[in-house]
C-alpha cells in the first residue's frame, strides 16, 4: 500500500468477527470481515437478510447487543485505533467522527422531542457551542438536505413530518458534527421509489461536498449499482466478493454474486414474463464452526475441494477484485475456468 493513500483512508477494519452465544452453541454472524473506506468513497455492503451486514456496521460503531463479542485484528478510524477504547471514548467518537443513518426514521427519531432539539443535541454533546450556534448549524444543514423553511421546522415533532422529510432530518443529524465516516443502514428501504431516488441523490451530493467516507448497507442491487464506488457482497457472515461496482456488476466472479444478479428482473435485459434465475436451497446455520465454502450447499459449481478447509478472500485476475471462491482464484485463468464450469 503506497504511503500517500494511507492518509485518505477513513476506515480500516481487518478480520472482524462477531460471536453471540445462543442456546444451541455459538452463533457466528460475522466472520473474518475486512473492509476499508477512503475519503470521498462509497462502499456498499450488499447481501440478503441474515448475512451479517447490519451486525458488521453495529460492530464498527460498537453498538452490538451486550451478549455479542467482537474480535478483530485492526479497526482504525482515520488512522486512530477505535477498537476496545472504552465506552466513554467511543461515545465521544460516535456521532462526532462517525455517525449512522438508520432504516426507519420514525423509530430512530425520538417522538417526544422537537427535531430542533434532537439536531442541536448532537452538536452540543461533542462541541463546546452555544444553543444559538447549534441552532444555526441545524438550519444550515436542514437547508443543505433540501428542507425548505428550515427555521420553522425546528419546532416540529417527528410525527408532523413525512417519511422522506424524516429521513432528511436523520441525514442532517448525522452530518451535524461533520463526521469522517457515515454508515447508512438501508437508508431508503422504507421510502417510496421517487423519494428513494431523491435521498440517494442527496447522499451522493453531500458525500462529495463534505468528502466523507460512506458505508451504505442495502439489499437492493439497483441502489448499489448506482451509488457505489466499491462493493462488498456478503453471504452467511462473510464477504464473498469485493471489487469496484463495475467489476461486480459487469464481471461477477463468485457464483453467489452471479446467482443474485440473475434473480432480479432487469428492465430491457430480462424478457418480460421470462423465468428468473433462482438460488435453490437455504442459508446455512451459522451456529458453530463451519468448514469449507459457506455457499457450497447451494452452489451450482460445487467441487469436493469446496467442502473442506478454510477458503480465503483472495485476489482474482483483476486488481482490487477479490473473491472467496476456489474457482476464481489463481493465476489469471479465472474467467475462462469458471465459464467452462458453468456450461
Amino acid at each position: 500500500m503506497p504511503a500517500h493513500s494511507e492518509s485518505k483512508r477513513v476506515l480500516e477494519v481487518r478480520r472482524l468477527n462477531v460471536e453471540i452465544p445462543v442456546p444451541t452453541g455459538m452463533l457466528r454472524p460475522v466472520q473474518d470481515v475486512s473492509l476499508h473506506v477512503d475519503r470521498g468513497e462509497t462502499l456498499c455492503v450488499v447481501g440478503e437478510s441474515g448475512c451479517g451486514k447490519s451486525l458488521t456496521s453495529l460492530a464498527i460503531m460498537d453498538l452490538l447487543p451486550t451478549k455479542a463479542k467482537r474480535t478483530c485484528d485492526e479497526m482504525q478510524l482515520s488512522g486512530d485505533n477505535v477498537f476496545r477504547i472504552g465506552e466513554r471514548a467511543m461515545s465521544d467518537i460516535r456521532g462526532d467522527r462517525m455517525s449512522m443513518i438508520f432504516q426507519e426514521p420514525m423509530t430512530s427519531l425520538n417522538p417526544a422531542y422537537t427535531i430542533g432539539n434532537q439536531l442541536a443535541e448532537a452538536l452540543q454533546r461533542h462541541r463546546n457551542v452555544s444553543k444559538a450556534q447549534a441552532r444555526e448549524r441545524a438550519i444550515y444543514l436542514l437547508e443543505k438536505v433540501g428542507i425548505t423553511a428550515a427555521a420553522g421546522r425546528l419546532g416540529q415533532y417527528p410525527h408532523q413530518l413525512s417519511g422522506g422529510l424524516r429521513q432528511r432530518v436523520m441525514i442532517a443529524m448525522a452530518l451535524m458534527c461533520g463526521p469522517d465516516l457515515i454508515i447508512a443502514d438501508e437508508p431508503t428501504t422504507a421510502l417510496d421509489v421517487t423519494i428513494q431516488a431523491q435521498i440517494l441523490h442527496l447522499l451522493a451530493d453531500l458525500q462529495r461536498e463534505f468528502q466523507m467516507g460512506m458505508i451504505l448497507i442495502t439489499h437492493d442491487l439497483g441502489v448499489v449499482a448506482r451509488i457505489a464506488d466499491r462493493v462488498a457482497v456478503m453471504y452467511a457472515g462473510q464477504v464473498v466478493e469485493t471489487g469496484t461496482a463495475k467489476q461486480i456488476f459487469n464481471a461477477p466472479q463468485h457464483p453467489y454474486t452471479r446467482g443474485l444478479l440473475d434473480c432480479i428482473p432487469i428492465p430491457g435485459k430480462t424478457k418480460r414474463g421470462a423465468r428468473l434465475g433462482a438460488i435453490p436451497g437455504i442459508v446455512p446455520s451459522l451456529v458453530g464452526h463451519m468448514s469449507g465454502c459457506h455457499f457450497a450447499s447451494r452452489c451450482p459449481q460445487v467441487h469436493e475441494a469446496c467442502k473442506t478447509g478454510n477458503i480465503d478472500l483472495l485476489p482474482t485476475a483483476q486488481p482490487g477484485h477479490l473473491s472467496r471462491c476456489l474457482l476464481t482464484q489463481g493465476a489469471g485463468s479465472a474467467p475462462r475456468e469458471t465459464e467452462g464450469a458453468a456450461s
Partner: protein
C-alpha cells in the same frame, strides 16, 4: 364479452377524518372516481406512491370496504349482491408480509385448509388430500403440514399464503406487494411461482407494487395511480416503452436498474407529496409537474383514450388546441 372478471365503474371512497378537537370532520378522498377492467388471465399492476389509494382500492375489490359511490362487479355480478363467502370464492388476497399474515398459533395444515372450513366444504375427508395437492403446486414439502409458521422461512411462508389463497380456486388473486418483504433470491422464486400458477390455473392477478422492476416483469397491463385517480392505464409494454403522463415518466425514471455506468436519477419531482386532505386544484399533479401548463392548475384534465388505454393529462388533449404535445 364475459371475459371481464373484474370491473369498477366510477368507484370512489371517502373517509371522514377528524379535523381536531371541536372541529368538523373533513373528507379524505382516498379513491376518487376509478374505472378499471381486468380481463381473464391478465395481470394488472397498480403502481403509485404510498398514500395514492392502492390499498383502499384493493380492500374494496375484496369486499372488505364498501365503495362510497360507483359500482364494482366481480365476474359480472355486482359486489353488493354477493355475500362474503361468494366474494371469497371469487377473489383472494396475498399480503405483503408473510410474517404477520399467518396466525402463529395455527399449524400450516390448518391455515391452508381454513378456507375449505369457512366455505363449509362438504367433504372433510378430502381436505388433507386437497391441501397436499395445493402444497405440491406451490412447492411446499408435505412434511411442513404439521409445522407452525415460525418454523418456516420467509419464502416458505409466502408459499403458505399463496396455497391458502388458491385452495378454493379463486378466479382473481390480489397480490398486495407480494415480494416486498422477501430477499432477492426468494423474491425470484415467488415471482416464478406466481407466473407458473397463472398459466396452470388460469388465474387473473391484480398486483399492487411499488417495485417497478417486478411490475414490468409480471404485468400485462399497468395502471398508474396518483392521489386517488388512475392517471394512466396502458398495456405494460407500451407504458414501459413510451410512458405518456409526466408522473409515469418520473416513476419510471426513478427505477434503479443495476447498471453501474448510470448515476442516481434526478426525477425533478420535488419532495412534497401533496396533503390528500387538501388536494391541489385542477390537475392534482400540477405542483410537481415539470411540464405544467397555465390551465393545469385550474382545470382538471379529461380522460383521453390512447390506443388500448388512457391518460389523464392536458398535454395530450388535442381538443384544447394547445398543440403542446411534448415528448
Amino acid at each position: 364479452m364475459n371475459d371481464i372478471v373484474l370491473e369498477a365503474k366510477g368507484v370512489t371512497r371517502t373517509f371522514m377524518i377528524s379535523g381536531g378537537f371541536m372541529k368538523p370532520k373533513r373528507p379524505l378522498h382516498a379513491v376518487n372516481g376509478i374505472d378499471l377492467r381486468i380481463r381473464q388471465g391478465e395481470v394488472l399492476a397498480l403502481v403509485g406512491e404510498s398514500g395514492c389509494g392502492k390499498t383502499t382500492l384493493a380492500k374494496m375489490l375484496l369486499g372488505l370496504l364498501p365503495p362510497t359511490s360507483g359500482s364494482l362487479e366481480l365476474d359480472g355480478n355486482p359486489i353488493e349482491t354477493m355475500n362474503r363467502l361468494r366474494i371469497a370464492q371469487t377473489v383472494q388476497p396475498i399480503f405483503q408480509d408473510p410474517y404477520s399474515s399467518l396466525n402463529p398459533r395455527k399449524s400450516i395444515g390448518s391455515i391452508i385448509t381454513l378456507p375449505l372450513k369457512v366455505q363449509g366444504d362438504k367433504d372433510p375427508g378430502t381436505w388433507r388430500k386437497r391441501a397436499d395437492e395445493i402444497m405440491e403446486l406451490v412447492g411446499l414439502p408435505r412434511r411442513v403440514y404439521n409445522n407452525y409458521p415460525s418454523q418456516l422461512s420467509g419464502g416458505q411462508r409466502q408459499r403458505v399464503a399463496i396455497a391458502r389463497a388458491l385452495i378454493n380456486r379463486p378466479r382473481i388473486v390480489i397480490c398486495d406487494e407480494p415480494t416486498s418483504a422477501l430477499d432477492v433470491s426468494v423474491q425470484s422464486q415467488i415471482l416464478n411461482l406466481l407466473q407458473d400458477l397463472r398459466e396452470e390455473l388460469g388465474l387473473t392477478y391484480l398486483v399492487i407494487s411499488h417495485n417497478l422492476a417486478v411490475v414490468e416483469h409480471m404485468a400485462t397491463r399497468v395502471a398508474v395511480m396518483y392521489l386517488g385517480r388512475i392517471v394512466e392505464e396502458e398495456d405494460a409494454g407500451t407504458l414501459f416503452d413510451t410512458p405518456k403522463h409526466p408522473y409515469s415518466k418520473a416513476l419510471l425514471e426513478s427505477v434503479l436498474t443495476p447498471d453501474p455506468s448510470l448515476g442516481v436519477p434526478d426525477t425533478h419531482l420535488g419532495a412534497a407529496y401533496p396533503n390528500p386532505l387538501d388536494m391541489p386544484s385542477g390537475c392534482r399533479f400540477h405542483p410537481r409537474c415539470i411540464k405544467a401548463l397555465p390551465h393545469c392548475s385550474t382545470i382538471a384534465p379529461r380522460k383521453i383514450p390512447f390506443g388500448d388505454g388512457h391518460v389523464e393529462c392536458h398535454l395530450y388533449d388535442e381538443n384544447e388546441g394547445k398543440g403542446k404535445l411534448a415528448s
